[in-house]
């Protein structure tokens, strides 16, 4: 039973704006799972999907949908900020984002983006 794992994942942790934060990224063939947590839990689950556009004409817009947790505007904004670039770099793959954030300041979000980049599995 020693088949090698079919999923690639990377994890890291860092203190962001004074808050201990963990990030785990896992690559599936059809989607990326990004977990960003300052509570150690899954928190709010958001699906971030690029809209379909003709190749090379423009960058796609993103549709965010809260699957679990509080559905408020700031959640959608944070989600787009955090993983739009991830999706684009992965060739416009949908991203499933799980975030449990204590600090949702713009500075915090910027730093979190850099931490996510360190867990590059795409």
């Amino acid at each position: 039973m020693a088949a090698k794992p079919v999923l690639a994942s990377k994890q890291t942790e860092e203190v962001v704006q004074g808050v201990p934060t963990e990030v785990v990224c896992t690559a599936f063939a059809n989607t990326l799972l990004v977990v960003v947590t300052q509570y150690g839990k899954m928190g709010t689950l958001v699906s971030v999907e690029p809209d379909v556009v003709a190749d090379g004409i423009s960058k796609p817009l993103f549709t965010t949908k809260v699957l679990l947790g509080k559905d408020e505007p700031l959640v959608h904004i944070c989600a787009k900020h955090l993983v739009t670039s991830v999706s684009q770099e992965a060739g416009n793959k949908p991203v499933l984002l799980s975030m449990a954030l204590k600090d949702r300041s713009i500075e915090g979000i910027q730093t979190l983006r850099e931490v996510i980049q360190r867990c590059r599995v795409w």
Binding site: M1, E22, G40, M42, L67
Partner: protein, 134 residues
């Protein structure tokens, strides 16, 4: 950062989320009635994300957790075909076993109850062998 984590000293607990318990990742697999099945477990604080699949696809997701009022855990489908209750059922069964919040993503075409039982038994076997991973 990554290296320091493996050797976290007792004193370093305050800088870690949840006071010392980090997310742990665990991959395993099993050959169940001639089919190779892959498992990916991510243990979080008081919760578990478990992916089960034959290929690296994530196309369904359900969550379940115990409630004080009912012996059957509450569950809901978050992603994928809502009429396919396999992820749901599995999440419920694991939630009642572990008392944790359980996310299950079941991505195998075979949804016979006898096959799912094999899957469940394989998970329980791994839980017994590596309790710290779940």
């Amino acid at each position: 950062m990554e290296d320091g984590r493996a050797a976290s000293q007792p004193g370093s607990g305050s800088t870690e989320p949840g006071g010392g318990e980090q997310i742990s990742l665990h991959n395993f697999c099993g050959r169940l009635s001639e089919q190779l099945v892959h498992f990916h477990a991510m243990r979080l604080r008081d919760s578990l994300f478990l992916w089960i699949g034959e290929a690296p696809q994530l196309s369904s997701l359900a969550v379940a957790m115990c409630t004080p009022r009912d012996s059957i855990p509450a569950s809901t489908s978050l992603l994928g075909d809502a009429s396919d209750s396999t992820s749901n059922c599995l999440a419920q069964r694991l939630a009642s076993k572990t008392k944790k919040q359980i996310f299950v993503s079941y991505n195998i075409k075979n949804t016979d109850s006898s096959f799912i039982l094999l899957v469940e038994n394989r998970i329980k076997e791994e839980m017994t062998a590596f309790p710290e991973k779940f």
